[in-house]
Symmetry: C2
Subunit: 202 residues, 2 copies
């Protein structure tokens, strides 16, 4: 589409595309799949095919603060990034029935190596997106306040090796704004939690 | 792995996994692929297979501010999220030779419908990750200052319909912290730009 922009503020008004038929899973390996979905182009009325990535129905990411106002961050080797990274705890539903709130509580407990929160607050009303162009799995953001270590034992997911790192909140924020944290979902969830932890951007 | 956590702060020390052999593309459809990579588990010395998503070698996301201190945001229908979303401009290299700086300049120009910046600043030194567990494509973050509409014309990517939305910076930040912006990469890049635009979290 060749477009001549003369102080225009849009290239044709944006309209929703209507989904056509059912999604078609092209390939599925463990929990990873490529799905083909058809949408009708609202300009041309032609049906077009889109290939997208999907995993579980959704994911949950949690910003946990303990009673010393430290962020409970998780250090893990990440096979997609091919390096050890520091991230917020998070994970996926293990059964189709699990609600985001249940997943958040469970993942916080497991990935913080046994912490429980006094209060867990859901931060988003609309689903959040890792990459809304290509990835059909959304995520939900939670803030866990008043986290305390418990003595309960549990089972980690297979192959999940992790270290818990306690980082003072102010330092965690500085790590997010200075590029030391490189995980976009952890940064986004922290950003979304600012209001609830009484912080402002000035 | 059953683990009994008694005030422990780690489940075995985190070590890097060594990549074994070459990545194997299981399927590729247009620019989307599932890649199998083998890594040696540093605990067991067993070689394990990981299936990961990949697109182009990297992506670039830009926070553009115009001379009125407005964010140039892009409204688009997103087929992964299946809805119209407001995001920062961004995109992928069109040729293997393109540097992140060149991609950022080009995508800013195209997606802001003809704006050019006075100055473009790369915000990250390490690559950023949409989802470092499963997605091998990283992204780079840029801040574009002093953006001005030009009269130059150009070609948008096929099927790219978008509206440019100019949002005062303070309002954009409030949209990020209140959950009105739901695109994690846009939120992460905004967070990373705070220092450079003289804003602080207090």
């Amino acid at each position: 589409m060749a477009v001549n922009f003369k102080n225009k503020e849009s290239v044709l008004e944006v309209k929703p595309w209507e989904k056509v038929g059912e999604p078609n899973t092209i390939i599925q390996i463990h929990d990873k799949r490529i799905v083909m979905r058809k949408f009708k182009n609202p300009r041309t009325n032609k049906v077009e095919e889109f290939y997208q990535f999907g995993t579980t129905p959704y994911a949950c990411i949690i910003l946990p603060l303990n009673t010393d106002n430290e962020v409970l961050a998780v250090k893990q080797f990440r096979h997609g990034a091919d390096k050890i990274l520091l991230e917020l705890p998070g994970g996926n539903p293990k059964t189709p029935e699990q609600t985001p709130e249940e997943v958040a509580e469970e993942e916080l407990f497991e990935e913080s190596l046994g912490h429980r929160a006094e209060k867990i607050i859901k931060l988003n009303s609309e689903p959040l997106w890792f990459n809304p162009a290509t990835f059909i799995t959304p995520f939900h953001a939670f803030l866990a306040l008043g986290c305390r270590q418990t003595e309960e034992s549990f089972k980690l997911d297979q192959g999940e090796y992790l270290e818990l790192t306690k980082i003072p909140l102010k330092k965690w924020l500085a790590m997010c704004t200075s590029g030391k944290i490189v995980d976009a979902k952890s940064m986004a969830v922290t950003f979304l939690a600012l209001d609830n932890i009484g912080l402002k951007i000035t």
